[in-house]
């Protein structure tokens, strides 16, 4: 009997020592985070630099000692701008690899499918999915506790641009041309129209096109006939190019304002002369004294052989920065609930563009505005302003 009790005690002590040791190993081991990006598919041009930016940020953080001495391991998955692929990627990261947080993509479509899951699994997701439905429940207005946006939302960006057009460009009569089936386009166009109308101005034409449409000349003719002096465009690059050319071909000589997809290579894609074109930009890449975005873009170009600067590297970098700042403050940087609570308290954190981010109650930011850019006669992008609607 004594022998049995002695054996049990030895086993108990051994188990306690082993369990304690295992816990110590766990708390000193690498911190696993995931990154779900559009590495292929329709948005790979945005997703690839985004993924690179996140991985580069992790590399730099690890080289500088990691999070309180713990290294970060980043596992990148491809969501192909597809909701199902995005869900598969999410489950692989959370259920198989056991990541404690995820860097989300720049597109809202896949991210919108994780809003409930992230809450159930207590896995914070930080990214640039700027459609409000990714951070706020559209049915009841509640904030998704585990979703965090690191740039101005769609509505904020649209309002910034509308404000600039009204105040700086003197626009009086607007028209919009967009694809209502494109969530990104709709999420910007609706608040743009709302803001313009709220300022007592007229939206004289509200024209649409579909995914399969390749000719917008009928819509452009209607816009010209409506007498609008400014047209708002919001869509992906291919559609923006067709829309711009259709407008100019139809004889529209007014101002064209649009989403950040109007950034280079837009000016080289359109067939008409680019003039009176104003669009949103997250970063002022032309100013080397602002933040480290130039450094990131250059490093990306050197590492990948990309010939044109890709601002999305800044997105990946910024999202990792917001997440890891919370990790540094956490008692347990792998505890999703604690991380979410700390990310929500992010205050005055300087991002790669030199602008500071503070999270608001909706897990978005009120502190960041948008740069307004245009093209000069040589098709070079020029930053002409910085706008933030209070």
């Amino acid at each position: 009997m004594k022998k049995t009790i002695s054996c049990l005690l030895v086993l108990l002590v051994a188990f306690a020592v082993f369990a304690n040791g295992a816990q110590e190993v766990k708390s000193d081991g690498p911190i696993k985070i995931g990154s779900i990006q559009d590495l292929s598919g329709s948005a790979s041009n945005a997703g690839q630099p985004n993924a690179w930016g996140a991985e580069y940020a992790v590399k730099v953080i690890n080289e500088n000692g990691g999070i309180n001495g713990r290294m970060i391991e980043i596992y990148t998955q491809d969501c192909k701008n597809d909701v199902t692929e995005g869900l598969n990627a999410y489950h692989k990261l959370v259920d198989e690899i056991n990541v404690c947080a995820i860097i989300g993509p720049a597109l809202s479509n896949p991210a919108s499918a994780w809003v409930e899951l992230a809450g159930e699994d207590q896995v914070p997701i930080v990214g640039h999915f700027m459609d409000e439905i990714c951070t706020t429940n559209p049915d009841n207005g509640a904030t998704y506790e585990y979703m965090f946006l690191c740039e101005p939302s769609c509505a904020q960006q649209a309002e910034d641009l509308a404000e600039y057009a009204i105040k700086e460009l003197g626009s009086k009569k607007f028209a919009v041309l967009y694809n209502p089936s494109n969530a990104f386009a709709k999420a910007q166009t609706d608040p743009f129209v709302k803001y313009v109308v709220a300022q007592g101005l007229e939206v004289s034409a509200n024209e649409t096109f579909g995914w399969a449409d390749k000719d917008y000349s009928a819509q452009a003719l209607k816009i010209v006939a409506s007498g609008a002096d400014t047209v708002f465009l919001s869509d992906y690059l291919a559609q923006m190019v067709i829309a711009y050319d259709a407008l100019r071909d139809a004889g529209f000589t007014g101002k064209v304002v649009g989403a950040n997809t109007m950034a280079p290579p837009f000016a080289n894609q359109v067939k008409n002369t680019v003039y009176d074109c104003y669009f949103l930009q997250n970063y002022d890449m032309l100013n080397p004294s602002v933040g480290n975005i130039n450094e990131l873009v250059t490093a990306h170009m050197q590492a990948t052989g990309t010939t044109s600067p890709q601002v999305n590297v800044g997105f990946g970098w910024d999202a990792v920065l917001v997440l890891t700042e919370a990790m540094k403050k956490a008692k347990d940087p792998t505890d999703g609930a604690e991380l979410a609570s700390l990310i929500a308290q992010t205050k005055d954190l300087e991002l790669s563009g030199g602008v500071k981010i503070t999270m608001n109650a909706s897990h978005r930011t009120d502190t960041m505005g948008m740069y307004i850019a245009t093209y000069d006669a040589d098709k070079n992008m020029v930053i002409v302003g910085y706008e933030k609607v209070e």
């Binding site: 598919g41 329709s42 024209e207 649409t208 399969a212 009928a218 690059l237 290579p265």
Partner: protein, 307 residues
């Protein structure tokens, strides 16, 4: 009076004329695709959906051919080179996909399935390597439009229109006025009997695929110049080409061209009057109406000959 000095009535007339011109231009784009579609159907009696994928692939070939040069070669050089690439590509696809179907004398549904599969494979492969951001051909024209009175006409669309018409006339001449054309028509009616008449029907089929391939090459470059080059370019345009060839009468080149222009004009006016969102519905309703009321399409000539 409007700001342009025209009366309201004149302004309205101008608007309708402008829509008509734009519709014709859009029709020219559809016609270019419909011809490639119809030529295969006219002989092989199946809708070659691989044509859409081939257009996309050829657009990339044309783009990368141009990109090889510091100073871009004239567009006609690119068109010819890409058309030749299209021929080689079409023959390759025939070899790997259609030849064995022919050999086993399998039903036409196999052709249809093979063509659909090829199209999806081509587009998927392109999607792996290229994003949806379009690649741009160098500018062909310094300005995009020219004026006819107060109306504006797209130079690119005019070029597509002219090329479509030239291709149609050349094809019509080939089919109706040459011995090869006679052989094509004979193979279209009955390949086995044609063989007994001394016609090398295999060679004729190779020629048909070569013509379709060259048309895919021409379409790829022209559509790439107009809309930019991206993986889904041919696929999305293919639907309109298919509708045009159904309305025109499957297998009828002239019918397909006429229907393509009709489709372009109707689409333009419909979009202007009722918005773009209902346009696809209208397009398919028109196609269904033709299938119910006049299944042989606008022309129906080829169908009668076959009967």
């Amino acid at each position: 009076m409007t700001s342009s000095g025209l009366s309201s009535h004149q302004h309205k007339i101008n608007m309708w004329l402008q829509l008509l011109i734009n519709g014709i231009c859009l029709g020219a784009v559809y016609a270019l695709i419909a011809v490639g579609f119809a030529i295969v159907f006219s002989v092989l009696k199946f809708s070659n959906f691989a044509h859409g994928g081939m257009i996309s692939a050829c657009a990339f070939m044309g783009y990368f051919f141009q990109a090889r040069f510091k100073t871009a070669p004239p567009i006609w050089v690119t068109i010819i080179v890409t058309a030749l690439c299209g021929v080689v590509f079409a023959l390759f696809l025939d070899m790997i996909a259609y030849k064995s179907i022919r050999k086993h004398k399998s039903p036409n549904i196999y052709y249809f399935l093979a063509s659909l599969t090829i199209s999806i494979i081509i587009t998927s492969i392109l999607n792996v390597f290229f994003s949806k951001n379009p690649l741009a051909f160098p500018m062909i024209f310094k300005t995009t439009t020219f004026s006819v009175g107060s109306l504006k006409v797209s130079k690119m669309d005019t070029m597509i229109l002219v090329i479509s018409v030239v291709i149609l006339v050349a094809l019509m001449f080939l089919i109706n006025k040459t011995k090869i054309g006679l052989a094509m028509r004979a193979v279209a009616i009955n390949p086995d009997t044609s063989k007994l008449m001394g016609i090398n029907s295999s060679l004729i089929l190779v020629m048909i695929f070569s013509i379709a391939g060259s048309l895919a090459g021409v379409s790829g470059v022209l559509l790439g110049c107009k809309y930019g080059v991206y993986p889904d370019l041919g696929q999305t345009m293919m639907v309109k080409g298919f509708i045009a060839s159904v309305i025109g009468g499957l297998g009828s080149l002239g019918g397909a061209i006429a229907a393509a222009f009709l489709l372009g004009i109707i689409e333009m006016f419909w979009t202007f009057l009722f918005g773009s969102l209902s346009t696809p519905v209208m397009t398919f309703v028109v196609m269904l109406l033709f299938l119910f009321v006049r299944p042989q399409g606008i022309s129906g000539k080829f169908a009668k000959e076959k009967v």
